[in-house]
């Protein structure tokens, strides 16, 4: 078994046993060390989920697990780089065994490396974004989808972005990675709904996280990640298909999606 599969930073042993009167759902969050992923972890732990938390760096993740476990929650951390595609199936199996099942998977991992100006190009950055934001998601959600389809139950949440709704001048690679993720999640939804599996696509606008610093220019309607996490939890309970957060982005993007190309080509945003 690889070193990544050893649970670290947990202060409690196995999750408390699930019983009919104390049901425990089991969730896996990929990209949980900071921002939205960490907020989702805190809130799901409070709702009684046993959690497996994944991220590249283990220090922040361990601190988060300690925080959750000290408040009566149950979280285990796993250090993992989502571009280690080959390690996913074995790690997933270990996580499912440690959690005692799996009901929910949230793919949050994402990077945003703009090329540095509308006249700049950077293949390395683009490639990193596609690998983390899209191929990493596919590497995880493929075996997860297979499991959930076979179990005829489960919920998948993918954190995409409003950035995937249109290709813009500033960051083609990021737009592409998120457009790809949105389409991939839609396809999963179309495959899995008939098997009783819910797939929720989340399209956040601006969020006050580390990633926001990568964005140049104005950041209207930026919300705290904890607010976005509340939106997402509510949508999960209602088993929704696609949400924007903040919700106003649905209408903003509706307009932007309908801006004709001959105008869009002249815009610098």
């Amino acid at each position: 078994m690889s070193e990544q599969s050893t649970p670290i930073g947990s202060t409690q042993g196995k999750p408390a046993p699930a019983t009919p009167l104390n049901p425990r759902r089991r969730g896996l969050i990929i990209g949980a060390s900071a921002g939205l992923g960490a907020e989702l972890a805190r809130k799901l732990a409070r709702e009684g989920y046993s959690l497996a938390l994944l991220a590249r760096g283990k220090d922040k993740l361990d601190a988060l697990c300690l925080e959750i476990n000290s408040q009566g929650g149950n979280a285990h951390s796993y250090a993992h780089n989502v571009t280690d595609f080959d390690k996913v199936p074995a790690l997933l199996q270990t996580i499912v065994a440690n959690l005692g099942g799996l009901d929910l998977v949230i793919y949050v991992a994402s990077v945003n490396n703009p090329p540095g100006g509308i006249d700049k190009f950077n293949f390395e950055n683009d490639r990193a974004m596609i690998e983390v934001n899209l191929i990493g998601a596919m590497a995880w959600l493929t075996p997860v989808a297979e499991m959930f389809q076979s179990a005829k139950a489960g919920q998948i949440v993918g954190i995409s972005s409003v950035a995937g709704d249109r290709g813009r001048v500033g960051n083609p690679g990021y737009n592409t990675s998120k457009a790809g993720l949105t389409t991939y999640l839609e396809a999963l939804r179309n495959r899995l709904t008939r098997h009783g599996v819910n797939v929720l696509t989340v399209k956040p606008g601006f969020m006050k996280t580390e990633m926001l610093k990568a964005t140049s220019g104005p950041t209207p309607f930026a919300i705290e990640p904890s607010v976005a996490a509340d939106h997402i939890l509510k949508a999960m309970k209602k088993r929704k298909q696609v949400i924007y957060t903040a919700p106003i982005w649905r209408w903003i993007m509706l307009v932007i999606q309908h801006v004709p190309s001959f105008i869009f080509r002249r815009l610098s945003f």
Partner: protein, 468 residues
């Protein structure tokens, strides 16, 4: 995702649909398959649990995230000798298969559960009892011999005088020492396909328990229904069914009554409502008010004491009357709380429990009582006393309150010297288990576990809940 050995990742449930856990299911058709599955589990670092038809009310056959051996494929009745009544079966054979094979020749399984869907492997792992527990003991006392595969890969054969320590520990051992492969049982002679049943009302809890005790010796089977809604002086009222097997000659034509066509459960209620639809009609009644009326109605019908004859399967397999009845409990499913309490303390303990449930507005929709005696199996639930099984409906809004109440129930039962049964209660804690089994029994069990399963390969959700 594929693990090989034809595994499928499956969401499995308990009988009451109140628990779910996804596992890798491996179909088992022969003894070698179990060995292969053990090897795979070792390679992958996963835990293993055997599962039959999944009829236990709790997590006994669940193993979330691990491997579940689907034993239903090992379902051959290997040898049946109608002259001696000895039958050798694979462990996936169900009680249904068994009685249907032996009954036409004038035999009946010595101990059966309230449903015929259970597999013999599961029956031994839980060491089931029937309505004749007070005289026949649990099913383990009728096992001549069994063979099981240990996680080490060794096949062991056990009998009361051969590997006796394993015999008395694996029966009642929750499938945590090894996986049963072959089971040899002695059937009980019957002289008619019919059974003579006396039914009479009992107006109070003390009469209820008194009658169970006094009338047990004159019957082969005894079971009580308890109206858990009744309070005050009527608390614990209900109806008792005592049944007696017919003696040789009482039935002038046993061949006729023993034929299978005479043993089929009716498939319609009142000749009109198909049984498969019953849960649909029951659903609107499955609330405190509706079930209060149902229990009152049932008691009024019970007031007339009467005697009648019915077929064996009709008498024994009440739970199979309406397939899918447990679905009428809705989305949260149902749980059953059963306590086995000595005859001296049972009345006070159960009065307290029933009153507590009524004060909490969490009445049990169905109460069932039985008469028991102790046995010498290691993880025994037997007592010289009675058992009371209470069914509760689980909803999102009553979980927390019911959880607190059942912890109180555990306290009451333990203080009364009570015990619990591993196929039923789903909320018992490791601490409660330690208190009723005693440290010595648990230490002995763990020692045997270490011997049979040094790597700790066999683990169910129930084992993790109660023993780790």
């Amino acid at each position: 995702m594929s693990l090989n050995l034809n595994t499928t990742f499956t969401q499995l449930e308990n009988f009451g649909h109140s628990l779910r856990a996804s596992s890798y299911r491996i179909p088992i058709k022969k003894t070698d398959d179990i060995y292969e599955a053990f090897q795979l589990a070792k390679k992958l670092g996963l835990k293993v649990t055997a599962r039959g038809t999944g009829i236990s009310y709790n997590d006994a056959s669940l193993n979330g995230g691990g491997i579940v051996l689907d034993m239903r494929g090992m379902n051959q009745i290997v040898e049946w000798d109608p002259a001696s009544g000895v039958v050798r079966c694979e462990s996936g054979v169900t009680l249904e298969q068994l009685w249907q094979r032996v009954e036409p020749a004038g035999w009946w399984p010595p101990v059966v559960s309230g449903t015929m869907k259970t597999t013999l492997g599961g029956c031994l792992a839980a060491n089931i009892h029937g309505k004749n527990n007070f005289q026949a003991g649990p099913i383990g006392e009728h096992v001549i011999e069994f063979t099981a595969m240990l996680p080490t890969g060794a096949l062991v054969t056990c009998a009361p005088r051969k590997n006796a320590d394993l015999f008395y520990a694996m029966i009642s051992g929750l499938g945590m020492l090894g996986v049963f492969t072959s089971i040899t049982l002695k059937m009980k002679r019957i002289f008619s396909g019919l059974i003579a049943v006396d039914a009479w009302p009992v107006p109070t809890l003390s009469r209820h328990l008194n009658d169970l005790r006094e009338h047990a010796p004159t019957h082969d089977y005894i079971v009580g229904w308890l109206d858990a809604f009744a309070s005050g002086n009527s608390l614990g009222r209900g109806q008792i069914h005592g049944a007696r097997q017919l003696k040789e000659g009482e039935d002038p034509n046993p061949k006729n009554t023993e034929s299978l066509s005479n043993q089929q459960l009716p498939d319609r209620f009142f000749g009109v409502v198909p049984k498969s639809m019953l849960h649909f009609f029951m659903k609107p009644l499955m609330n405190n008010v509706g079930m209060g009326f149902v229990n009152i109605g049932r008691y009024l019908l019970a007031l007339r004491a009467h005697t009648f004859r019915q077929s064996h399967d009709e008498f024994h397999f009440l739970l199979d009357y309406a397939p899918g009845w447990e679905r009428s409990f809705g989305r949260g499913g149902l749980i059953q709380y059963q306590s086995f309490v000595p005859k001296e303390t049972a009345e006070d303990a159960w009065r307290e429990m029933i009153q507590l449930s009524q004060r909490n507005n969490l009445p049990s929709y169905l109460g069932v009582t039985k008469r028991h005696r102790p046995d010498k199996f290691l993880l025994t639930h037997g007592v010289d006393g009675f058992s009371l099984a209470l069914d509760f409906k689980v909803t999102d809004s009553n979980r927390a309150k019911m959880s607190t109440m059942l912890q109180e129930f555990d306290r009451i039962a333990l203080e009364a010297g009570g015990r619990f049964y591993f196929a039923k209660n789903s909320e018992t804690s490791a601490e409660s288990t330690r208190r009723f089994l005693g440290d010595a029994a648990i230490a002995k069990f763990k020692k045997l576990k270490k011997r049979c399963d040094p790597q700790g390969l066999l683990e169910s959700d129930l084992y993790r809940r109660l023993f780790t």
